[in-house]
Amino acid sequence: MAKKHIIVDPITRIEGHLRVEAIIDENNTIVDAYTSSTLFRGIETILQGRDPRDAGLLAMRICGVCTGTHYQRSIEAVEDAFDVTIPKNARIVRNLIQGALYVHDHLVHFYHLHALDFVDVVSALSADPKKTSDEAVKWAGVAGTNPFIEGAGQFKEIQDRVAKFVKQGRLGIFGNGYWGNKHYKLTPEQNLIGVAHYLKALDIQRDLAKMQAIFGGKNPHPQSIVVGGVTCVQDIKNPARIALFKTLLKEGTKFIKQAYLPDVYMAGTMYADEATDSSATFTAHKQGKGVGGTGGGLLNYMSYGDFRLDDTGFYKSALLFPGGVVLNGDLTKVYPFDPEKVEEDVTHAWYDADKPQHPYEGTTIPNYTGLEKKKDGMAYLKTDEKYSWIKSPIYDDNRMEVGPLARMIVGVAAGDEKISKYVKKFLKNANLPIEVLFSTIGRTAARAIETELMADTMMEWVDELAANVASGDDSTWQDFEFEVVSKKSRGVGLAEAPRGGLGHWMKIEDGKISNYQAVVPSTWNAAPRDYKGRLGAYEAALIGTKVSDPEQPLEIIRTIHSFDPCIACAVHVVDTKGKELGVYKVDTGCAI
């Protein structure tokens, strides 16, 4: 039997527009994979010529899902350029705004974007509510707690509600899913737990988003961060606001500990065979010797580092998530992260350039070569040439994966106490070896581990903020001489967005932005091949995966979802001014 070529477009339950093409062999194993972003907006070009103080609001619109994170990085690039150190209150408020994004975003990702890759909604209908209740107690027990939803009665009620929905006619957003696919491995009872938490999480996420709105004004797209600090001085001075924040955080933390973590233990255990199947990996395919499990991929992990814990200033403070690089899954070595070693290559992206370029100096000359229409009516990527709007970032001549898994792995390798504690607790409770992290499931587990860590840490930060304000410090903004510092300078906002390392590079001349570039998490992860033909992180992660039914790309979207794609973020910008007969000129700028 010949090899099959599968197209999955659109990839749904992600942010943005993404296409995956996979080649499977006669055993339904993926032997090659290509990922392509199919939308391009041009935000960096739009940012050029604007006042740097205004850039953050617009840069935030790179993404409505990781909302607020591009905003803060853009502002911090300006603060780095102007050498402004923000007041303590502003630092903590920003940590809380970003922390709120983490817990909200990770929770929504797991339940509303990812869970349906594990949870078969239709199967939940045949669950026994009593057994479901017992099952919930069991998995909460693994996490050392009680279940969030308890008792057969509650599960019965939810099951009836879903039955009504499923039995009769159309399924709405659940329509045409892969229900019944044999790679759904949960029992009916476990599926019912998943569905019950899916619905409850819709409520919880609304409340978690309110945390961001308390100090940010609204969610999505908060508005209180300005160059020099934050504007929400009256909110931090108001004890009722602090109290509301804590109430919401407590409620959210309860759900994280009593539903989210137990569910990840449950899925991790049920899919442990895949997570430890080292034959179904990129490393097995490439080197003949597998490490980790299905979906493992590159095994190169990088974190820029983020969440400042003191007020010594940018790139000097102690960090919650340390920066660093781990190569080939070797946890015994961690290399320091050096922003000078970041480059972008366009060999397989719809742009022209001679060689890989550092973001400060990068050019973007679009060269869209299109898709190839074939006889079957489908349009295919021209994978020998250029095939994506995403460039290929390279670090020190390596392809890299970024994200929660990279942060946890770098943290453990660097011997960070807090991260090591949370990761070890998880693996001990789940009774799984650390290699399980090098897989699709590992990525999903790392996100859950990080969510708990963040929720616990945020409670410390709220108290720190309240205590600092109570001590009489109500400063929220650091003045600066705009006319002086904006003459000619440059800066970078380097941070960890929920999906991974995020950098905004900015050059400023005569009070205006002269060059703007962002290299974002999904640029790293969703990138096409580079000039040496080396695969991007998604592409590598798909290699070796066994597909149970080529007509239903369940395993493909499960692995892609484990990265939490955010494609609007990743796509580069072009300037099409002066276009003539398909020639597109660009002054500068890449990414997004």
Binding site: I7, H112, G172, G177, P220, H221, Q223, S224, A379
Partner: protein, 410 residues
């Protein structure tokens, strides 16, 4: 919950806080009868897809009948209808499962989908969003790839000429539309929109990108992005701008559609008057400080600590029409003026080039807009607003001078 509903109702119905939209008794009598007939007709249809039942849902979520009716009366006020319409609005909400919605995403950031998931209460709103028959939405649907495309085809066929099409994101027109493609056949976003729009009952452009081009259309508009109304002809189009749009206005729009079967009364920019008939400035909680000449002069100053007016640090509330000073965001938790930043004019055309900066209009260091969507702006209205802006600028300067003088004299 009840308190909040009361507060919303009060704001929406108090005379000073709204534009005068009274259409006269004859109009409302006629409308009442046509709504009544429509609702009766809808009631006789079984929900085609037998969706979730709102009575069950209300019960499950612990909302009693009394709270529900209070909510209905608040929505009636929000839709600028006389209170006699309240029972009809309640009935319309009960028939939400007869409203098939297809939601497509073009050149966007998914912020509006996220906003919808955050539906800013009262709780009934959230429930209704579970109830509507959301047939297609890439961000949250289970199916992907061919199965997702099949789902879209099926919904378009089943609800031909009956579905409401929500569009999120601008339409990239440059490069023959190839800046954005969707689906295995590589259909451009422009062609995708035209195909799905063809058999829609009406199109709701949600968020500032779909309405006026928004972010991608900001100068120099690299992808020649346009709003839906500049691209689609021959269909009723309703614009719900905002960055992102307020979910309360999305729900209001759907209720209005079920209730009347018609497009609500729109302003010259195709925005429903029930949501965009309010100027932020007129209903602002900091308005008294504006009138008293008390301004925040720089971030974090004494004025900021005392909730003074944000005009001088760039608030564009005086130029912006939207109901966020009333509805606020995330169940009323806060809003941009509340958090001390001010309004950036996000529901107005070209706001990225005209309004979104932290200085008042007079001190703007802005990039001049080029090409793109400004031709769709109601020039007369814009001119008037800018004039009002300058007038306000003078007031702001004069009031400070006066205040200083008083201090000097004291």
């Amino acid at each position: 919950m009840a308190d909040r509903i009361e507060a919303v109702k009060k704001l929406f119905t108090s005379k000073s806080a709204r534009v005068e939209t009274n259409m006269g008794d004859t109009h409302y009598e006629k409308l009442f009868h046509s709504c009544q007939t429509r609702i009766e007709e809808l009631k006789t249809q079984t929900p085609r897809e037998n969706r979730l039942d709102i009575d069950d849902m209300l019960e499950l979520q612990g909302v009693n009948r009394r709270d529900f009716m209070k909510w209905a009366s608040a929505v009636t006020g929000m839709l600028m209808l006389p209170s006699a319409f309240t029972p009809l609005v309640a009935d319309a909400a009960l028939l939400m499962n007869r409203a098939p919605v297809i939601w497509i995403e073009l050149s966007d950031c998914a912020g509006n989908t996220e906003a919808m998931l955050r539906s800013d209460g009262p709780k009934v709103d959230e429930i209704l969003l579970d109830i509507i028959s959301l047939e297609f939405n890439e961000t949250i649907m289970a199916a992907a790839g061919h199965q997702a495309e099949a789902q879209l085809e099926d919904a378009m066929e089943t609800f031909k000429d009956k579905y409401l099409l929500f569009v999120e994101g601008a339409v990239p027109m440059g490069l023959n539309g190839q800046f954005g493609t969707i689906g295995a056949e590589g259909e451009t976003m422009h062609d995708h929109l035209q195909r799905v729009a063809k058999h829609a009952a009406a199109i709701v452009a949600v968020g500032s990108c779909a309405t006026f081009g928004g972010v991608p259309a900001a100068s120099p508009n690299p992808t020649d992005a346009k709003g839906v109304m500049d691209v689609v002809n021959g269909k009723p189009i309703i614009n719900i701008p905002g960055c992102p749009a307020n979910p309360a206005n999305m729900v209001g729009m759907i209720i209005h559609y079920i209730l009347t079967g018609q497009v609500p009364e729109l302003d010259s920019l195709l925005r429903p008057k029930f949501a965009f008939g309010y100027r932020i400035h007129d209903n602002c909680e900091r308005r008294a400080h504006f009138d008293a000449g008390e301004f925040v002069e720089e971030w974090g100053d004494e004025g900021a600590k005392n909730n003074f007016c944000l005009y001088k640090v760039g608030c564009k509330g005086p130029m912006t029409f939207n109901n966020c000073s009333i509805v606020r965001y995330n169940e009323g938790v806060n809003w941009p003026v509340g958090v001390g930043r001010g309004c950036i004019g996000c529901s107005e055309p070209d706001f990225w080039d005209k309004y979104a900066y932290e200085r008042p209009m007079a001190d703007a260091n802005i990039k001049a807009p080029t090409g793109g969507v400004e031709k769709t702006v109601d020039e007369f209205g814009l001119g008037l607003l800018t004039a009002a802006g300058i007038g306000i600028g003078i007031h702001a300067a004069a009031s400070v001078a006066a205040a200083k003088k008083e201090e000097g004299e004291a």
